[in-house]
């Protein structure tokens, strides 16, 4: 047996595999397929203060080895979350992290304050990288000054583990990783989706109602991996890597490039068991290579 435990700030995860926000619902959607407790953690759907209807249909387009989505943070808001969803989440025997979103800094602060009081939520993932909303989201994540402002404001009111989710739609990812560290985040996670689009040539219109959407899936893996490698060399806090991880081999690439943990996103749509299979695959790899602990190979490409 290999030791799969890793730490994100004060949080110990039993293994480095976390389900990514927006791709695992609230966990219950996957319960017929997997035991959520076998995962390192799950990050539930992007949550906002108020209820949101999201963007009009169509919100999805398939692309080569990937997909575009333009969901736009549809969710029922934090009140509904607290009353109807949180009680069930509190029962999971793994870390449940909430991905938070806002139009304004005040929204983010208020939401963080609320979640700070939920004893069963040990961490938030501050989403400053959603490409599918007009206000907030990626606007914060692509401007260094705004990013700093929102992270620092949230940090002041939130005293558990703060993970900042970065946007890949930037010239220099290390700048945003550094700002997150400077403002006191315990970790950064990257990447969110790449801003992309698709055109339906038969009707000569964009395929998505919002014209552009977020690209995820295997297609983005090489760029996501490069950014994770860069970020991991730029900061000392843990980097959580994601983007196109479909199997254990992909996850190992991110870990070897410097990711302390990984998130599994779109893969769960194709294989709802992807998360737990990746846990098993990483363990198998380590045993075969006679490596005691996953932390031995974190960032190993930089040392060889």
């Amino acid at each position: 047996m290999a030791d799969l435990r890793i730490k994100i700030g004060p949080l110990e995860l039993r293994n480095p595999v976390i389900l990514a926000s927006g791709t695992c619902g609230y966990g219950s959607e996957l319960e017929d397929f997997i035991d959520i407790s076998e995962l390192g953690g799950i990050i539930v759907k992007g949550t906002t203060l108020e209820q949101r209807e999201g963007n009009p249909y169509p919100r999805m387009a398939e692309t080569a080895s990937g997909m575009l989505n333009a969901v736009g943070l549809q969710n029922k808001g934090i009140d509904h979350f607290e009353k109807n969803i949180y009680p069930h989440l509190a029962e999971y025997k793994t870390h449940v992290i909430v991905n938070i979103n806002g139009n304004t800094i005040e929204d983010y602060v208020e939401l963080s304050r609320r979640i700070n009081s939920f004893s069963a939520i040990p961490a938030i993932e501050l989403n400053i990288s959603c490409p599918n909303v007009k206000q907030g989201g990626m606007v914060f994540g692509t401007n260094p000054a705004s990013a700093r402002e929102v992270i620092s404001a949230v940090r002041r009111v939130y005293d558990k583990t703060l993970i900042v989710k970065l946007s890949p739609n930037v010239t220099d990812i290390t700048e945003f990783a550094r700002i997150s560290q400077e403002e006191g985040a315990e970790a950064v996670s990257l990447v969110n989706t790449f801003l992309g689009m698709a055109v339906d040539i038969s009707n000569m219109r964009p395929k998505l109602s919002t014209i552009t959407g977020g690209l995820s899936g295997s297609a983005i893996k090489p760029v996501a991996l490069r950014m994770v490698w860069q970020a991991a060399r730029a900061v000392t806090i843990p980097v959580i890597g994601l983007g196109g991880i479909m199997n254990a081999e992909d996850a190992l690439e991110f870990i070897m490039a410097g990711a302390t943990a990984v998130q599994v996103g779109t893969a769960s749509f194709i294989n709802p068991r992807a998360g737990t299979e990746i846990v098993a695959g990483i363990e198998k790899f380590l045993i075969e290579k006679e490596i005691d602990s996953v932390s031995t190979i974190t960032g190993i490409i930089n040392r060889k």
Partner: protein, 259 residues
Amino acid sequence: MKKRIEDLTVIDNSKLAEGFFVIKVSSSEDLTGIKPGQFVQALVKESPSTFLRRPLSVHDINPSENTLLLLVQIAGPGTERLSRLIPGEKLNLIYPLGNSFTLPVQGERVLLAGGGCGMAPLLYLARKISESGVQPHFALGFRNRSRILTHDEFSALGPVYLSTEDGSQGYRGFVTDIPEFSNEHWDRVYCCGPEPMMKAVAALCRKRDIFCEVSLENLMACGLGICLCCVVPTTSGNLCSCTDGPVFNINDLKWQTSG
């Protein structure tokens, strides 16, 4: 019934009409808990351009063989690859997904209206309706004679009224032009087909105040209620057609404008 992910075995794959195939797969698990209107998410292997699974309605279930039928229309690379499945190959499915049609009660007169691959869920629905002691009637519409999909299984269950757009067989026009549709009394209409057909059927039903359920084919990524890509605007907000649907009562949909 719990959702599962399973490699089923292809038993048969036959061409029904140009571009239409019926694929029979057998399971090692019990299939009888599947409800009419539910669908599967099929994994298309070996198609470089197929990243996501493909949603397909449950066309029929044969409990004695423990087989499941899919009626597939070639629409692109995914369905094209499925149409070339050969007996013995595995087909990985996530199922059963979605809600289901509301079955009629004894004594009701029910019409199942559909066309093209929209016929897919109607056969299993008809079988379940028939088993419950109600006689299903069918109104099936096609582009022309050559596009008519074999309907022996349908006629075994109840009367079939046909229409073709060019009149090459059955009534000329759309399913809504079939005289039995308008002239006879129906307590319930179930419909699945191209969106214009479903909207026309819905309009007719609304006018005559007939209970009507349609099965939508919105684009889906996950089929599990996670991605929120398949939403339908309803009177209770955006609902997921993969979990709250694919079957919707027309009164809940925001289609009414066309009625």
